[in-house]
Assembly symmetry: none
Homo-oligomer: 127 residues x 4
Amino acid sequence: MSIDPEIRINPHSHVPPFEQVRQQIADLIALGTLRPDQRLPPVRQLAADLGLANGTVARAYQELEAAGLVTTGRAAGTRIAAALPPGSRGDILAAKAVEYVAAARRLGAGDEEIARALTTALNKPVE
Amino acid sequence: MSIDPEIRINPHSHVPPFEQVRQQIADLIALGTLRPDQRLPPVRQLAADLGLANGTVARAYQELEAAGLVTTGRAAGTRIAAALPPGSRGDILAAKAVEYVAAARRLGAGDEEIARALTTALNKPVE
Amino acid sequence: MSIDPEIRINPHSHVPPFEQVRQQIADLIALGTLRPDQRLPPVRQLAADLGLANGTVARAYQELEAAGLVTTGRAAGTRIAAALPPGSRGDILAAKAVEYVAAARRLGAGDEEIARALTTALNKPVE
Amino acid sequence: MSIDPEIRINPHSHVPPFEQVRQQIADLIALGTLRPDQRLPPVRQLAADLGLANGTVARAYQELEAAGLVTTGRAAGTRIAAALPPGSRGDILAAKAVEYVAAARRLGAGDEEIARALTTALNKPVE
DNA sequence: GTGGTCTAGACCACC
DNA sequence: GTGGTCTAGACCACT
């Protein structure tokens, strides 16, 4: 089982591709979908699968390593770090919720309205 | 009362500043916080307030006008268009909720978990 | 009979309003619709009719005077110059034809194609 | 063979340069002179050739992309879109002819006069 | 004072 | 090298 199908690049987004890749992998790690010591696909393969240049994926891996989420042993490939930085476990979900609430409040919505919108969204069919 | 304080630029975001400005104003309009015929701050003033170059804000205004959200008689300043494009009233909130749900589900969260995270976020003190 | 209805300003054009006014009056003069010694409407009236600022129309008049197409005697108002600059009589039409041909040729069209397009256009109902 | 020589900027025109560039390229596409998948010159090169700033040409390219006439993979250069928006083949020529006729009629010219002016223009030496 | 545009040079992300 | 964006300052047309 590969992580590839879980990653989707939006080429029209104003967020640069390398950042989209980094983001999504970081999320998968924090969420536990990717477990410690698990191997990431080789740069070239992931790049090919996503239709990106090798350097783009390489940069995402580099930043993940700099953040301590991933380790790169010479020829050993890239693996999820055994020891995750503390507090990055399920915080992603919380962070996304906070982000949503912040955006909604910035638009003048009240708590009730925010909750109602969520309920509606939850009941929509998955695309 | 000015809209300036409602707009916040994140200089660390990978989304370009002109797009952040455009976005947030578009949201404020769709949400009804900015009412038809209301005046937008002058390009130069908003630019100064946000610490941006004039051209950057000018571009945001321009794209808003191209989208029909805003009208601009040359020296008359920029105003919210009287007639909003159809279907933009509360859709913004809904869209943001859907976005949140989608992101959460992509991470493998269930409905209950998603709702719980929201409740937690709502109870957090406003920053 | 006023010239006002003959003049139309396109506020969305990239050509500045003062230039549109100057153009159209110059054309009317060269074509003979406006005859020597005939009076132009007062700046303020034309401005009001066209929905422009006085200064905008004033500038158009100024440039027409600088070109010798018009004279401005103190309180006498603005009149078509008795003596038209030589060669500006029916040349306007010719100039517009040349412009059309040039544009068409720049696009790679041949003479026959150009003539055919004109014939088609002539047979179209007047809008 | 490059398209550069086909594009001419008139610095005295009141139409802004970026718009002149956009226009002319759009015309060349609609006319079929520029074929689908054909490459446009790099922003910097075209800018240099035309004596414009890079940003000016970049804006023209950008608007063309927004209009769907052109595609741009970031570092892949800019290419004519494979699928042209419907109804743009020879319409450009027709539109220019209609424009000419409209301008002439606005000046009081009759069909015969209009056709005669064209014939004269066609026989003039190419500048 | 208000928006629109241009320039010149710079940095970024991408291939 | 390729497009995208930003800045800083400038000029223009308009009200």
